[in-house]
Amino acid sequence: MAVNVRIPAPLRTLTGDQELVSADGATLADVVEQLEASYPGMRERLCEDDGELRRFVNVFVNGEDVRFLSGLASELSEGDEVSIVPAVAGG
């Protein structure tokens, strides 16, 4: 599945300032692996040593928080938009 990934400002040093990159994968975990392959260093920024998403990295698929879906195992469809968002603020 080809998906679009929205990269937040702090991670654009890894993507050569690209805000939107494309990736391919059946699940979010696949996409993270592919981002790491294309932009080395990305995995460390998104995931803990045990491979889980970092506590304050929020990932949305088509606007839905992946914690409402299946986390890294969330399945993706062709053309989905994956957004990576820093720590939720507010409250």
């Binding site: 400002a9 702090p10 920024r45 970092r54 506590r55 304050f56 990295v57 928080d65 914690r67 409402f68 968002v85 820093p86 720590a87 939720v88 603020a89 507010g90 409250g91």
Partner: protein
């Protein structure tokens, strides 16, 4: 004189310069203000605080930012009231109400906004904004008006009328967003990247959040420079809850009180209980929820400080509880009828959860407890529709009044007679 030194990531401890920033560039963790506590200890004393103003600015040495930039509506230093009637009703020996309904815009949010707007002005911002469940918007609108700043406040589209009017009166740009608070929050995070505004609870959130510590400072000072056995606090993002505990610990750090041993317990509405649910499940990883409760001011389904609130519960041996909408209304009424304090739904939640905790033996009768009542009830009158005793409607005649009054005094007899 300010003793703030840097912003520090709460997750990985990387340090950053003091700026309008709220998350760690490396791990995306939230940033918190770091202070030079030795310098504060050398500057501050119980006497210097007592000589200060009867507002939160009496703790200026413990707050970030230069107080020269403050916009003072008189927030803070609200009454700590002994609540013997409510204590008796609940089965506690000693209960206090920290009555934060009497702030300038009738909620504790005046504390965080006072600190945030001072810092925003220090950074040179001319526009002030927020994502709000209602109370924060009221406070930002009021402080923004007084400061003469461009003011833009974002709220969910379906808030209580009192919360909407309570912002509108100050004539901000009031934005009602189709969606829940969590949607408002996400929209504002996006807007904050393109507009040159200080969003008090987004890009200047590290400073804003520090304002809540003043509730802890005040309770300790008002108890005669000591901390209570137990605190019960409403939890929305979880920030207030964690900052009261931080405030107690900082007073100890700078030598003003003994080491706090307070148990910190939190209250949520059953219809939005990500933190209380995670607590019940014994995990520090909450799952976001889609809120459905009358306690709109604490209806945050994805709480920014949920993890830290759960850590504080664990660290202090506190408990979390949740209250149904019906229990929340009963809590509002109980507080009003026993102590003369009219709280909004969040206060009803706190009292209802306090009641649960006592009934379950989670708070022992002998534990000196402080319940934090953080917002005033006139903003959420919708919750009480049909829930109060109906007034006596009488013609302007003495005999008609006496008849109606006596009928009210003997409702059982009236009912029996009418049946």
């Amino acid at each position: 004189m300010s003793f703030e030194r840097s912003l520090r990531c709460r997750e990985c401890a990387r340090e950053f310069p003091l700026a309008a920033a709220f998350f760690c560039e490396f791990c995306f963790g939230p940033l918190e203000v770091a202070y030079d506590y030795d310098a504060i200890a050398a500057s501050i004393s119980r006497e210097s605080i007592a000589a200060g103003p009867a507002t939160l600015w009496r703790y200026a040495d413990l707050l970030p930012g230069d107080p020269e930039y403050r916009v003072d509506l008189g927030a803070g230093f609200t009454p700590l009231l002994r609540a013997d009637n409510l204590a008796a009703a609940l089965g506690l020996d000693r209960l206090w109400i920290k009555n934060d309904t009497v702030n300038p815009t009738w909620s504790f949010k005046d504390r965080v906004v006072a600190v945030a707007i001072a810092k925003a002005r220090e950074f040179g911002y001319t526009g002030i904004a927020c994502a709000s469940t209602g109370n924060l918007a009221n406070s930002v609108a009021a402080h923004g008006a007084r400061a003469g700043m461009e003011t833009i406040v974002f709220i969910p589209h379906d808030l209580e009328e009192g919360k909407v009017v309570g912002s509108g009166i100050y004539d901000p740009t009031l934005v009602m967003v189709e969606g829940s608070y969590d949607d408002v929050n996400r929209l504002c995070t996006e807007v904050a990247q393109s507009k040159p505004w200080a969003f008090v609870n987004i890009n200047v959130r590290p400073y804003y959040a520090e304002g809540s510590r003043t509730l802890g400072f005040e309770v300790a000072e008002q108890l005669g420079w000591r901390t209570p056995d137990h605190c019960v606090v409403p939890m929305a993002s979880g920030s207030l809850f964690t900052k009261i505990w931080k405030g107690f610990n900082e007073l100890h750090e700078v030598g003003l009180i003994d080491e706090p041993r307070t148990r910190m317990s939190g209250a949520q509405a059953a219809g939005c209980s990500p933190i209380a649910t995670a607590f019940e499940e014994g995990t520090l990883n909450f799952r976001p929820q889609k809120p459905d409760t009358i306690a709109r001011s604490i209806a945050i389904g994805n709480p920014a400080d949920g993890y830290y609130a759960l850590k504080t519960l664990e660290e202090t041996n506190g408990v979390a509880a949740m209250a149904t909408d019906a229990e929340i209304v009963e809590g509002m009424k109980l507080l009003a009828e026993t102590e003369g304090i009219f709280a909004e739904t969040a206060g009803g939640t706190t009292i209802a959860c306090l009641k649960h905790m006592v009934e379950r033996g989670q708070i022992a009768p002998g534990e000196e407890t402080v319940a934090f009542i953080t917002g005033g009830g006139l903003k959420t009158t919708e919750a009480l529709q049909g829930g109060l005793a109906s007034p006596l409607h009488v013609p302007a005649r003495g005999d008609a009044f006496i008849e109606a009054y006596e009928a009210r005094l003997a409702p059982a007899a009236t009912t029996a007679g009418g049946a």
